[in-house]
Symmetry: C2
DNA sequence: CGCCAGAATGTAAAGCTTTACACCAGAGCG
DNA sequence: CGCTCTGGTGTAAAGCTTTACATTCTGGCG
């Protein structure tokens, strides 16, 4: 079907059939210099009203749209923020990302999502975007990256790095997160108040600081109720499968069997639910299960999951705001703690007997 | 804690404390011109072995890393591919994205994820990245965008646009997808072969071409079995909630009640499962449910979901390969169809009585 | 009236790379 | 020996914008 065109020189112009108008064309049309056009766009207050008008007209007339690459090159910035996360397929992150994008776009920034899926090399590649101005800042949604990448960052108080949800035990970055200790303790307290005396926990990776915090909250809350001797923590990886496996461990192997299980993620809680089902253990009659994150599924599993909800959208927004402030050279509150909420659904109840 | 530094001029150098070495520095160190350095990197075969060595050394010595912004400006490209999707929080897309990123990174491209979450303005903004060389191409994972954006694209055979999963009824873009008609017909056939005679369907948005295809497959498969008169299709939006609501419509309102429901997404199928549970309808004894997509959760719901699986990773890979070929000016097979698989789990069985 | 401040604008360099073109030397060949 | 290639390299322009600095002009003030 190839129409006309055929007679073209070679195979040039696959893009930009007619090359886009540049700032020069605008200057010509407006009868002023390129500098003035540039100023009219970037610092309107430095240009007279009349000129501003003429420039605006000229821009519309020639259909000018600024070449961002050239601008970024000159300004030594990219207007791009990278967010590093361990696993893009975990729905927990999507709402956070939405929050981030919302404020980023409003400020004229792009968000580049960096999936590190447990390959530390990836993280390094993304960090390398920083010194070359391919990215202006990074928001970390994972602490599972080579420490060397960030270790020097807490010295420079204005390094364009912020953590969201997670944190490092040894590097002090600006952070927005929840109080994991509190949230966990509160969940345990809730279970204890229902009468549970044997409360086990499926933790996330024990190397993960937020899991440590949660486990600390778990132990302390148990201790406060004098239930320390029944404590039992097993390790998962936040995913369905590990929840199922560890659920089996806790429910099939142990004697006496726990009457409640607190999980560090909804996916693992749902895995535990499956294990219980398979073993013929009724939830919540014989076993209570609490998850963490309040992902979409948690309302649709059987039974609906009691879980700790984080304000994910807000976490994303705040983290991005914090990073943009950092980039603007403004002072920031280096630690923001947002509140959680225990959402009680159908997977928890009083223990049998 | 602010160390030394305090005595700095103003607040300059927040980045690039020591400005990065440029290609000039390398040229100096290697005793050649910048052109030669550039060639040594981009077209090694055009440079003598000896020079190549010297350049390599010089690069290592001065710690040079190319300025991508400058390169992109000069080359009028961005090495960035945008993928437009309707909803980032839908886990269906994450595996596709992984596939895309895999081949993109290998080829030195970045993937920018564009979440259009039902705001058509967003899509337009992303399309505008194309003429300004902020993006080199777009992969569409949604057909729900203003038609004007793509309508002229099928004329130019080499427009850097490809569709994955979805397609337009009226615009003929290079596409990689499954055979939705087939896949749907196969699922219905499977249900019919179990003995089901009243098979309803929860479709995705009826304006969506892939849903039309699936519904066509549904009707034809029914007709082939002489079951046309029992056909019943209701519309959802792929999400949990709509599945639940339409499940209620089908199961609570209708007489006689369908004995099987075929859903256009796993989320909706899981919603139907919840509706059935709430109405005390046993699955699979009294009702069979089939989903679509085989998302992670489908193995962990109750009962485990029978579903149509798409090769998501491969779809992502192929789509990206196709786009990169397009960009390279190579000819491409404009329509790639990948095969699906019906994964039978526990949510389907022979109808009662 | 002369000078100065300040507003408005222009000039040109800088940001870093790629690449068209020119140049040179050496090889092969008539 | 002279010519033509060709492989290897250098020069400088181009890609587009921003911005430091220079310039012009105006009005105000002493």
């Amino acid at each position: 079907m190839l129409r006309a065109k055929q007679t073209l020189p070679k195979k040039t112009l696959s893009k930009r059939t007619l090359s886009m108008p540049t700032i020069k064309d605008v200057a010509l049309a407006a009868g002023c210099s390129t500098a003035t056009v540039s100023r009219a766009l970037a610092n309107p207050e430095k240009v007279s009203e009349a000129t501003r008008q003429r420039v605006a007209h000229a821009i519309a007339e020639v259909g000018y749209v600024p070449n961002v690459a050239a601008r970024n090159l000159r300004r030594a910035e990219s207007r791009t923020i990278v967010t590093l996360l361990p696993d893009i397929s975990n729905p927990f992150f999507s709402e956070i990302i939405n929050g981030m994008e919302e404020v980023a776009h409003q400020a004229g920034y792009q968000v580049l999502i960096g999936d590190c899926e447990r390959d530390p090399g990836r993280a390094e590649a993304y960090f390398n975007l920083l010194p070359t101005n391919q990215a202006d800042g990074i928001i970390l949604l994972t602490s599972d990256i080579p420490r060397a990448l960030v270790s020097h960052a807490d010295a420079r108080a204005d390094a364009p790095l912020v953590m969201a949800c997670e944190f490092f035990s040894d590097v002090d970055l600006p952070t927005v997160a929840i109080d994991n200790y509190q949230a966990s303790a509160h969940a345990i307290d809730y279970l204890a108040s229902l009468g549970h005396a044997r409360i086990a926990s499926v933790s996330g990776p024990v190397g993960n600081p937020i899991c440590r915090e949660r486990t600390r909250g778990y132990h302390d809350a148990l201790a406060a109720r004098g239930l320390s001797n029944s404590a039992r923590v097993v390790e998962g990886d936040f995913g369905f499968r590990s929840g199922y496996q560890q659920g089996m461990t806790l429910l099939d192997g142990m004697e006496p069997r726990p009457s409640a299980i607190f999980c560090h993620s909804d996916e693992m809680a749902i895995g535990v639910l499956k294990a219980a089902r398979q073993l013929g253990i009724g939830v919540p009659e014989e076993l209570s299960v609490v998850g963490f994150d309040n992902i979409g599924f948690s309302e649709y599993c059987e039974p609906e999951l009691t879980t700790v909800s984080q304000p994910r959208h807000e976490i994303g927004q705040q983290a991005m705001r914090m990073l943009l402030s950092l980039l603007a050279g403004e002072a920031v509150v280096r630690r923001q703690t947002l509140s959680t909420q225990l959402i009680v659904r159908k997977s928890t109840g009083r223990p049998a007997a």
